[in-house]
């Protein structure tokens, strides 16, 4: 089986194949498109909308319904709602990525070393994650956030605390299987140290399913984050954040329904888009559906 093609990293080959399959499902495709759109919005938002509108109070303009000048209307402080929503995506999306990213950074090494080395370290990790699992994640996040006090960073921290145990366990499961593979024996036979084996071989080979899980999590995380912000944790009143916008809009829900509707729909679309994308990726990378 000597393929004449030039050297293809197996990762690239898999991605190419996955790509082919992904674009075939229209719903998933729309999820991907919207997700990418959201990411671009988040990145470009400070250039499109001036951040100062968040703190500019323009009372005469307050609570205007959607119109030609303000497509989504204005809020309690006279701020253009569309502009606020665009600014918010930046905060929400970056929070989402930070939470999942940090969860990975903590969970992956812990899960990998625990799974590979076994013994007391493994027992300890299992018990600790068991504790985390025994409490529903939303309530746990609430409790930690409350304990840490108000503030955006504290909310993110609380959610990271809730996020990492799942990742550690998933990776540990993968590592338990991977460590019995023949190439690991070969590396050990060559005298190569365990740490090196774990970092450079085990983790790259096992992280795939976890990354898939992460894309699935993105939607849920942003939903939870907005939800907790809505409840009063996290960002302060004036910070452009989707949950906060809804909180602010609550009071005027009958007079100015657009204040809750648009941020709500925005959260819905963002969460749904990332969810669909994650779903599609998971389906495509399921080995049973291949070939």
């Amino acid at each position: 089986m000597n393929l004449k093609r030039s050297s293809w990293s197996p990762i690239l080959a898999e991605l190419k194949f996955a790509g082919h399959l992904l674009v075939q499902n229209k719903i998933v495709l729309s999820g991907i498109v919207i997700s990418v759109g959201v990411l671009i919005t988040a990145i470009l938002s400070p250039f499109v909308v001036s951040p100062t509108i968040a703190t500019t109070i323009d009372l005469p303009d307050r609570l205007h319904p959607p119109s030609a000048t303000h497509w989504f209307g204005t809020d309690d402080f006279g701020r253009d709602l569309l502009g606020m929503i665009i600014l918010s995506t930046r905060l929400d999306v970056s929070a989402m990525l930070e939470i999942v990213g940090a969860g990975l950074l903590i969970g992956v090494p812990l899960g990998a070393f625990s799974g590979f080395l076994g013994g007391k370290l493994d027992e300890a990790l299992m018990r600790i994650t068991d504790v985390f699992f025994s409490i529903p994640s939303l309530i746990l996040a609430l409790a930690v956030a409350a304990a840490l006090g108000r503030g955006l960073d504290n909310l993110i921290l609380a959610m990271i605390v809730v996020q990492w145990p799942g990742y550690a366990r998933i990776l540990r499961g993968q590592v338990l299987v991977e460590k019995d593979r023949l190439y690991v024996d070969a590396l050990r036979a060559l005298g190569i140290g365990k740490v090196r084996i774990i970092m450079l071989h085990i983790i790259p080979n096992t992280i795939y399913p976890l990354l898939v899980q992460c894309t699935l999590d993105l939607g849920g995380v942003i939903l939870t984050f907005a939800g907790l912000s809505f409840l009063g944790f996290g960002a302060s009143a004036l910070t452009p954040e989707l949950g906060r916008l809804i909180t602010a809009g609550q009071t005027y829900i009958f007079q100015a329904p657009w204040l809750t509707a648009f941020p709500g729909i925005a959260i819905l679309i963002i969460a749904l888009a990332f969810n669909l994308m994650g779903d599609g990726i998971r389906d495509v990378l399921d080995p049973k559906l291949r070939r």
Partner: protein, 355 residues
């Protein structure tokens, strides 16, 4: 129409006449559709099996021997397409047979045993239960006419049990009563393989296909199974297609041998002739490459490796590795032609010396 071309092309069996052969495979071509491309797995496979004879189908991995067997019983995966050729079992084209009749043929006329008995025995049923299924309808032989005529009658449970015990005795399994109640995982590899053979031969099929049935077994167990097969040959009047990569197995059990390479039959001869005077360069190379007891020094190797069947070599598929390749060999695929009585080769070199 297809028969005529067959007679002209691969005349190796024309001496036999059609009434002698149980199975004829003519110019069988088959492709697999994969993401990487079309795998041209079979490139015109031709051979015939006479009644009562044991034909060995030999080749290395990827040569298409298992695929050929699966095509005969029509148990191919969805992405396989037969693009040409004919398979005639007692005159009937199996490729054109509808599915429900094919099922009947698989039940009564053709039996197949595979390499790994673990995956082909149902783990949640006892051996007795699985063997019983085979006997749900029992055939009756009309021995006086030396022809097999199936008269299907429903058997009673007691009759079936007796038939099962008898079947297990035939494959020399000790204590058949106990084995009937056991599950596959409670038996050893060799015993499972015997059960599979019992199930296959229970209905006295016309054709018994054995696909690498001893490859997964230990040497001493393999010896037992080979002895068993040799003994069973006496009582089994059907034909056997024995697929293997092991030349030793073929030498022991077969009367004729077909050598396959990259989707073609390259040589077909009776077993003595093949070992004494292999004609095709691939067969010659293969025999020199096998370490045999008593052989010394370096093994002669065939340079290169088995070709990629998505982009197979032109002309004769063996030509890139052949030490005697002519220019013709890369252009024209050699036909399967007679050289001497019963010895057939697909090689341009041998064609020149044709008698």
């Amino acid at each position: 129409m297809v028969f005529e071309t067959f007679l002209i092309q691969s005349s190796g069996d024309s001496q036999l006449g059609e009434s002698d052969s149980l199975l004829r495979v003519c110019n069988l071509k088959l492709d697999f559709h994969t993401y990487a491309g079309e795998v041209k797995a079979l490139n015109g496979v031709t051979f015939a099996i006479k009644r009562g004879e044991a034909l060995g189908l030999v080749g290395e991995s990827g040569c298409g021997k298992s695929v050929t067997a699966l095509t005969i019983v029509r148990l191919l995966p969805d992405n396989a397409t037969v693009t040409d050729g004919m398979i005639a079992l007692l005159g009937r084209d199996l490729l054109k047979t509808p599915d429900n009749e094919m099922r009947k043929i698989r039940a009564e006329q053709v039996a197949m045993v595979f390499q790994d008995p673990t995956t082909f025995l149902n783990p949640v049923l006892t051996i007795g239960q699985q063997l019983e299924e085979v006997f749900q309808l029992s055939p009756e032989r009309d021995k006086a006419h030396s022809e097999v005529r199936h008269k299907l009658t429903k058997t009673s449970k007691a009759e079936r049990k007796d038939l099962c015990i008898e079947a297990l005795r035939q494959v020399k399994l000790p204590d058949p009563q106990r084995i009937l109640k056991q599950y596959p995982h409670e038996l050893s590899g060799g015993m499972r393989q015997r059960c599979m053979i019992a199930m296959a031969l229970a209905r006295n099929p016309d054709l018994f296909i054995a696909d690498e049935i001893t490859t997964a077994l230990d040497v001493t167990i393999q010896a037992q199974i080979l002895e068993l097969l040799r003994d069973l040959k006496r009582d089994f009047h059907g034909s056997t297609l024995l697929i293997t990569h092991d030349l030793g197995v073929v030498a022991k059990l077969c009367s004729r041998v077909a050598v396959m390479y990259a989707g073609n039959v390259v040589e077909l001869a009776n077993v003595r002739e093949l070992f004494a005077k292999p004609l095709h360069p691939y067969t010659q190379g293969l025999m020199k490459a096998v370490p045999m007891l008593g052989s010394v020094g370096r093994l002669e190797t065939i340079p290169g490796s088995v070709p990629d069947l998505i982009r197979p070599p032109s002309g004769c598929r063996f030509h890139p590795r052949c030490p005697h390749a002519l220019e013709k060999c890369s252009l024209v695929k050699p036909e399967l032609l007679d050289t001497t009585e019963g010895h057939t080769v697909a090689c341009h070199l041998c064609g020149e010396e044709r008698t």
